[in-house]
């Protein structure tokens, strides 16, 4: 039983997201299916495009997720406005990442608005989370 528990915890951390975040992504997946009939699962490549492309943000200026998080998710980032250091986004580099749905939903909402000047769709959120888990 002890080994089973260790194994379970081990495989969860390999997935790169906590059980509650995985559950949240399943919910996003259900919503994505209703919004897009051809939806066939989240895709890290689409997530990468969402994360690395430049858009006219909330301030009307060009901005990308990488403006603060950099293109290497295992690196420390830096808030482009305040200069405050940001912990790595990758769960591999920073085990605290993707452990709390409250944190994940808060930042996805804020950061989509700041970069895309709108909230993300369920599919976009799932894609970008998939990209973060895999990097």
């Amino acid at each position: 039983m002890k080994y089973l528990t260790i194994l379970l915890i081990g495989s969860m951390s390999l997935m790169g997201a906590s059980t509650e975040v995985v559950q949240y992504m399943n919910e996003l997946s259900s919503v994505a299916k209703t919004e897009n009939k051809s939806f066939a699962g989240f895709d890290a490549a689409r997530g990468k495009e969402i994360f690395t492309s430049t858009h006219t943000g909330k301030q009307g200026k060009p901005i990308s997720c990488t403006s603060c998080h950099t293109t290497n998710l295992s690196n420390y980032g830096k808030n482009s406005l305040t200069g405050k250091v940001i912990e790595p986004l990758s769960p591999k580099a920073n085990p605290q990442r993707l452990t709390s749905v409250k944190e994940v939903t808060k930042w996805l909402k804020r950061n989509f608005v700041d970069v895309y000047a709108r909230e993300g769709t369920a599919q976009e959120k799932g894609d970008v989370l998939t990209y973060i888990i895999k990097n």
Partner: protein, 175 residues
């Protein structure tokens, strides 16, 4: 226990004393704005404030702005200096209550002649204290903005702004 200690340490460092009257060359010496120990609830609120607001910038001590400023700030988090800083309703309320409780009651610091200051850097006391700071000192990459207290005030996070603790990047101590 560890969590509790962390929270109380953070709270003690955080609101335990805001040394606003920090001029070593003046009569007024470091005087904590609040000397009463925080209740457990206020300690938890202080820790939440530090975690949430401190994620993007130093969690400025509540005593730097009056109530009306914090009220306006907390009601406009969807456009907080051009960014979305919203959080869930419960946390927003906790932080708002905390900031309102420990807001400045001192007109000398925050008298804006009726205007509602959103930037601490626009309050008269702040402007006066920073009158000798040049644009070059502020805009250099190591500082970036006048809002970046910790770039020069080495103990700002603890609420201490003594002159002897100032170190301006590429310029040195303030003497």
């Amino acid at each position: 226990m560890k969590i509790f200690l962390n929270i109380s340490l953070a709270a003690a460092l955080f609101v335990g004393g805001v040394y606003l009257y920090a001029d070593d060359d003046e009569m007024e010496h470091a005087r904590p704005a609040y000397s009463k120990p925080l209740s457990k609830q206020d300690q938890a609120s202080a820790a939440l404030y530090k975690k949430e607001c401190g994620a993007c910038h130093m969690a400025y001590q509540a005593g730097f702005l009056p109530k009306r400023s914090w009220d306006k700030t907390m009601k406009g988090l969807d456009n907080h200096f051009g960014t979305d800083a919203t959080m869930d309703a419960a946390d927003t309320k906790t932080i708002q209550n905390y900031l309102m409780t420990y807001a400045s009651k001192n007109d000398r610091i925050t008298d804006m002649k009726g205007a509602v200051a959103l930037r601490i850097s626009q309050t008269p006391h702040f402007v006066k204290e920073h009158r000798e700071i040049t644009q070059k000192m502020i805009t250099q990459p190591e500082v970036k903005s006048i809002a970046n207290c910790t770039a020069c005030h080495t103990k700002a996070e603890t609420g201490s702004y003594r002159e002897r603790e100032i170190h301006i990047p590429n310029y040195g101590r303030w003497e």
